[in-house]
């Protein structure tokens, strides 16, 4: 029997429905999450199964309902808060950073905030500057939060289930462009621990550390490189916090050449931290500086030919790899 395949969106939905069946405290709220099932239809069917008391449409009040999520989590629920586009996280920063992230510590460990925020990242949907950002670096910077960046249907299911069971505020970013991507997802229940990187492909000549949909880009680049005799290892940290430094550094020490690829802005973003960690941990083994590739430092333009220039692609990543390996 062939392995079962699900789309990324189906895997998200399955994780949620399994957890909602398992634990009656889990509930979902956000804009257009109920009958509409979100604009991406990721949540279709959930309100029908779990009812309007557990899947709730909210007003367009990101700050307000994020705060409601924090309080609900403190008082015994397991809310999954839906922020339609990652760009709207700007409105939730106070509740996520000054409240959710700090409650446990500030209360001396007495209160907990077991809440999950699900949101999106990623450009190239021709949605322009306010619907295309990848702002996960901000959250990775804040102690008290955990940050999850799944790159496959398998990963998103297991990581989301872990997020819901975690006792801390967790934010999970889904690349909108991946919702229709298919991949194997076993029927049996599983979870994936945080802080464990996944080597998505082994290789010897160069390490490509990539996050979220950039993992797919990296895998595509690795395929291109293979044809030219360059063997690329693709490492997916899966969570930027906690971060599995060890796996990253070991791969870097093995291959001695590293590219880090992330769809957030290149400057002061995730690539900086990953590059700094690797440059420090593999200092004596690197043959070349770690190459960073992120979104171009511009607001994402609408115009397709411009937008396509702003994010790393299989072509630009493989070209960078070739250069690093001295083969271009």
């Amino acid at each position: 029997m062939p392995e079962r395949e699900l789309t990324f969106a189906q895997a998200v939905r399955e994780a949620l429905s399994e957890e909602m069946r398992r634990d009656s405290r889990v509930c979902i709220f956000g804009e257009d999450v109920a009958e509409a099932g979100t604009p991406f239809k990721v949540l279709s069917g959930l309100v029908e199964e779990f009812g309007a008391e557990r899947v709730l449409d909210t007003p367009i009040s990101e700050a307000g309902f994020t705060g409601v999520g924090v309080g609900a989590a403190m008082a015994g629920l397991r809310p999954v808060v839906d922020i339609m586009f990652g760009d709207f996280l700007t409105l939730t920063m106070d509740q996520m950073v000054n409240q959710a992230a700090k409650v446990h510590y500030m209360s001396g460990g007495h209160w907990k905030v077991p809440m999950v925020m699900r949101t999106t990242l990623g450009a190239t949907r021709r949605s322009a500057a306010q619907h295309s950002q990848s702002l996960h670096a901000w959250f990775s910077h804040v102690p008290g939060l955990k940050v999850v960046l799944p790159s496959t249907p398998y990963d998103v299911k297991g990581l989301l289930k872990t997020a819901i069971r975690d006792e801390n505020p967790v934010i999970l970013f889904e690349d909108k462009m991946m919702y229709k991507m298919k991949g194997p997802v076993p029927e049996e229940e599983y979870t994936i621990p945080f802080g464990v990187a996944d080597v998505k492909r082994t290789g010897d000549d160069i390490t490509i550390v990539a996050t979220s949909s950039m993992v797919q880009v990296a895998l595509g680049a690795a395929t291109l490189l293979e044809k030219e005799g360059i063997s690329a290892e693709v490492v997916d940290p899966r969570t930027t916090w906690p971060l599995d430094e060890k796996t990253l550094i070991e791969s870097a020490r093995k291959t001695s050449r590293v590219i880090v690829v992330d769809e957030g802005y290149g400057r002061y973003g995730v690539t900086a931290e990953l590059a700094a960690v690797i440059a420090e941990g593999a200092f004596y083994d690197l043959d070349a500086p770690v190459k960073r590739m992120g979104a171009m430092h511009v607001p994402i333009p609408f115009s397709p030919p411009l937008e396509d220039l702003t994010v790393p692609t299989e072509q630009t990543v493989s070209e960078a790899a070739r250069q690093l390996c001295g083969k271009s």
Binding site: T58, P59, I60, D87, R125, S127, P301, L306
Partner: protein, 334 residues
């Protein structure tokens, strides 16, 4: 580029009622036919991304903007084509923007949700619900400080009533007596959810609580909208402070061009009823004829003029070149 609108930018110069309402009629038709072309471009897969059509709501933008000066400010929304045209933009550069072309209002960098134009006081459409309430209020603050006599109109959907920043700036506007008009276009839906599920209590009360004068108006009747707008705008210009308008209206199409199957959130019958009984263009056409300001042939003439204008504008935009790749990192900083 077409120049059809440049002669009557402000509405202030129009001498007679007849001229005034014929002009409003034409402006509404321009918006309607613009949006038809947008849908067409989408269906023909010529437009990148999505767009949110304003069809059905024309009387609001036109009723308000016809009461404004060319140098008055507006801020607009994701559903912004109507505001933009009503404030004086030309369709050719708008279409070019929707297609991501260099000739667009934003050189292709903004797209449908970000059209902006200093020449017509358009501070920009905004893809963040409620994102422009501060901007409009700030423009009013600047107008007051600089003594320009300008007024700012802040357009938003009733969904933006969910955003707290609206209340923050209404409080400020009233404290500082700023010349800003908050225009809530209540088209009954926040995306796919009826506004009654997201909006507790009383909409006007949300402004009057701050001491702001507020009124509801039939948003399908351009004359009523314009009357109310004129009163509020002149009051604001004279230093009387902010005002709030609830314009009751309806969007004919989906939330965006791709929202085709809508039955799970509203009935076809409801849509049909608004289109047949409360269409702003039909309502004004009836009145124009009843007042003998026009006959149906004349009005049909407006439609075919405008149709030609739009077709030419689309043609211009389709043929226009994309920005050069080097533009990608230009204008990040001034």
């Amino acid at each position: 580029m077409t120049t059809t609108t440049s002669k009557h930018d402000t509405g202030r110069e129009v001498s007679s009622a007849k001229e005034k309402w014929l002009r409003a009629y034409r402006q509404m038709v321009r918006i309607r036919l613009f949006e038809e072309q947008v849908n067409e471009l989408y269906t023909r897969a010529l437009m990148p991304g999505l767009a949110h059509l304003y069809s059905g709501e024309e009387a609001v933008a036109v009723g308000i903007c016809e009461a404004l000066r060319i140098d008055d400010y507006i801020t607009s929304t994701h559903r912004g084509h109507g505001h933009c045209l009503a404030k004086g933009a030309t369709p050719d550069r708008m279409f070019a923007e929707l297609l991501g072309k260099e000739a667009g209002y934003c050189r292709g960098k903004g797209g449908s949700m970000h059209i902006a134009d200093p020449a017509t006081g358009n501070l920009g459409a905004n893809a963040i619900v409620g994102g422009s309430v501060g901007i409009a209020t700030g423009a009013a603050f600047a107008a007051k400080r600089l003594g320009t006599g300008c007024v700012a109109v802040c357009f938003f959907g009733e969904g933006a009533l969910g955003q707290g920043s609206l209340y923050e700036v209404m409080n400020l506007a009233q404290l500082w007596k700023l010349p800003v008009i908050y225009v809530c276009e209540n088209n009954l839906y926040n995306e796919y959810t009826h506004y009654s599920e997201t909006t507790a209590g009383d909409i006007l009360g949300r402004a009057t609580a701050f001491g702001i004068e507020a009124a509801s108006v039939d948003g399908q009747d351009v004359r009523k909208v314009n009357d109310l707008a004129t009163r509020f705008i002149e009051r604001a210009r004279a230093g009387g402070g902010p005002a709030f308008v609830q314009a009751n209206t309806y969007r004919y199409s989906g939330h965006h061009v791709g929202d085709i199957n809508r039955e799970y959130y509203r009935s076809k019958q409801e849509e049909q009823q608004w289109k047949t009984e409360r269409d702003p263009i039909k309502l004004l056409s009836k009145w124009l004829i009843a007042e003998s300001y026009a006959d149906s042939a004349q009005l049909e003439g407006v439609h075919s003029d405008v149709h030609a204008e739009m077709e030419a504008a689309v043609k211009f935009a389709v043929a226009a070149p994309y920005p050069a790749p080097e533009e990608v990192d230009q204008d990040v900083y001034a």
